[in-house]
Amino acid sequence: MTIEILMPALSPTMEEGTLAKWLVNEGDSISSGDLIAEIETDKATMEVEAVDDGKIGQLLVPAGTEGVKVNTPIALLIDSTELPHASIKNIADKPYLEKEKIAPELKMVKPITLEPNSSIITVREALRNAMAEEMRSDKNVFVMGEEVAEYQGAYKVTQGLLDEFGDKRVYDTPITEHGFAGIGIGAAFGNLKPIVEFMTFNFAMQAMDQIINSAAKTLYMSGGQMGCPIVFRGPNGAASRVAAQHSQCYASWYAHCPGLKVVSPWSSKDAKGLLKSAIRDPDPVIFLENEVMYGQSFNCPDNEDFLLSIGKANVEKEGSDVTIIAFSIMVGKSLEAAEILHEKGINAEVVNLRSLRPLDLDTIINSVKKTNRVVTCEEGFPFAGIGAEISALINENAFDWLDAPVKRVTGKDVPMPYAANLEKLALPQVDDIVNACGEVCYKD
């Protein structure tokens, strides 16, 4: 009997990985629990253990292969009593490497053209570069959070910072968000510039009191004496299959509160420019990243002084028929929707908000005046969400320019389910944006 050893999924969002190294050879006998390979994900290098006893009949994927999809057969394990050649012959014409059993959301990534004075880097690298550059130029900037130092970051965003800056600038904290958020705030009151990483913003709810009552309000309550130059950053929104307590967008929670700035990047360029601005900002900034975006690549300016203004949106695609307003991961989905809409004869404009507080009302209103139709997109819940706020602002500021009511595309009004099909239903999809745009344009 032949058993296929499959490329394992080693994290909730892993779709592919690099088969870095084989630790066994064809013909080796192995037992359950033996290490057989090293696999690199975008987060870590992991060792893979055999789960069955037997003999390695064939290594199907050579060491060093990148982009091996999860669930692709990477080796064949044969019963040790079986003759290897016979079994290999039986399966030889199976097109294993073409098989894609998972990643239904994975789209063909368009080739990116390198722009001048830029590099094509992942959002993760852009975030790390932003921190490293600011740490080099300002000795008061330091990083603290769970697993940010020795472990190199739970999502590898802080990889290499400990090596470059040492343990006086990069601090592993215990898993006590309320306490370490408060310590960061105290350090900011003491004129340092902390970058506090939350492993995800789901856990930052433990620190909510410190963020709102101490970081956001103290400047006002002190008559302007007590600035709090701190950045709280980490992944926000849904990851993949981690269910209700680990999949929530907190954009509207933080954007609700005066005293905070709230930004949410989409691309590598956004990530670098906004994070550098956030670190230099004298006010507390909530920096909402997205785990699914970490591994995506974009052009990013190399310039160490590249900054994006907090409070400015960006029109990612010009259009004339409908405005799609989005932030974070939804910008990418909106651009995909715009392509589909183009085929249907609808020319959509896509606004990437970048900043939720302050919100760039001018860019929104100017776009409304151009297209007269608006669809807002967010992963968060609909009730009192960012889309609700934008809709209200458009009513107050550009009602006469509307040709259709503003339509919201949001996460469903339910805690995030675990089951794959339900999770997909709960999250806003490209088709939802396409349909919403069709509705506001009164086209089917």
Partner: protein, 334 residues
């Protein structure tokens, strides 16, 4: 919890203390008391709104510790903060004007009793959420250590706050990172209306530092010499880089939790007994008498202080309300 056993008066051995220092501490404690009495009075007249938590009875704690500090040390405390501000040499006029919600208040009238600050004097608030100041104080200590200065953070909180989780999160990190922070538990026996015995398991709040390897001691917080001596030990320990230190001050507040507290949870006799036997100001007066300071000299000090407080009260009522434009300032820096 162990009872506050402070019934003794200052003894002869304390007479070798510098007379000038003792008089200075006496003046400061009296300034706080007169300030608080006036604040209570103005509250009763409707001149001060909201919550107002008085420090009367606890004066020895902050004044004793303050006497052991050096320039650049940072102080952070809860909403029972008037005494700490005056001990930090913040101007009673500015503090009182904040209580009345006027533009000359330390927070331009936008913070009130519970939220006042003076970076210049090293006073980092004045925090309204029970125990929120504890990690903040540890963070200020972090900044001292990061900057490599020899300063320490004095972080005050009450017995009620001592049951909050963030206190222990702060203990843990402060001990791990050897932060120069002195956690001062002002144990005045009641967290609002609930006695320590009814809210806190274990014998002493200071014992809780043991789990984190933090050195601690229990101090008679009604005896300013004992407070000062303990503060000198704690601050020396912290300044030398050995990490945090806990001082549990057994103290007592004579007034209710806030001005709106009828204080039915304790008897008048209990309050009177402590006032008569352990009052920190009366105790130091007796010592000063023994050291040859006459009543008249002490009385003169009191008269001067009363006049200073009267000026502050007048200033606080004459100062205008903040301009309406202040509503939208100081929300963010840029």
């Amino acid at each position: 919890m162990k009872k506050n056993t402070s019934t003794k008066t200052l003894n002869e051995s304390k007479m070798n203390y510098d007379l000038e220092l003792l008089i200075d501490m006496y003046q400061k404690m009296l300034l706080i008391r007169r300030f608080e009495e006036k604040a209570g009075q103005l509250y009763g007249m409707g001149k001060i709104g909201g919550f107002c938590h008085l420090y009367i009875g606890q004066e020895a704690v902050v004044v004793g510790i303050q006497s052991a500090q050096i320039e650049g040390d940072s102080i952070v405390t809860s909403y029972r903060d008037h005494g700490h501000m005056i001990a930090c040499d913040m101007d009673p006029k500015g503090v009182m004007a904040e209580l009345t919600g006027r533009e000359d208040g330390y927070s331009k009238g936008k913070g009130g009793s519970m939220h006042m600050f003076s970076r210049e004097k090293g006073f980092f608030g004045g925090h309204g959420i029970v125990a929120a100041q504890v990690p903040i104080g540890a963070g200020l200590a972090f900044a001292h250590k990061y900057n490599g200065n020899k300063n320490v953070s004095i972080t005050y909180f009450g017995d009620g706050a001592a049951n909050q989780g963030q206190v222990y999160e702060s203990y843990n990190i402060a001990s791990l990172w050897k932060l120069p922070v002195i956690f001062v538990i002002e144990n005045n026996k009641y967290g609002m209306g609930t006695s320590v015995n009814r809210s806190s398991a274990g014998d002493n709040l200071s014992d809780r530092g043991k789990a984190y390897g933090i050195k601690s001691e229990i101090v008679d917080g009604m005896d300013i010499i004992a407070v000062r001596d303990a503060a000198i030990r704690a601050i020396e320990y912290c300044r030398s880089g050995k990490g945090p230190y806990i001082l549990e001050m057994k103290t007592y507040r004579y007034r209710g939790h806030s001005m709106s507290d009828p204080a039915k949870y304790r008897t008048r006799d209990e309050v009177e007994k402590i006032r008569k036997t352990s009052d920190p100001i009366e105790n130091i007066k007796i010592l000063l008498n023994k050291m040859g300071v006459e009543d008249k000299a002490l009385k003169d000090i009191d008269v001067k202080i009363k006049s200073k407080i009267a000026d502050a009260a007048k200033f606080a009522q004459d100062s205008p309300e903040p301009s309406e434009a202040e509503l939208y300032t100081d929300i963010t820096i840029n």
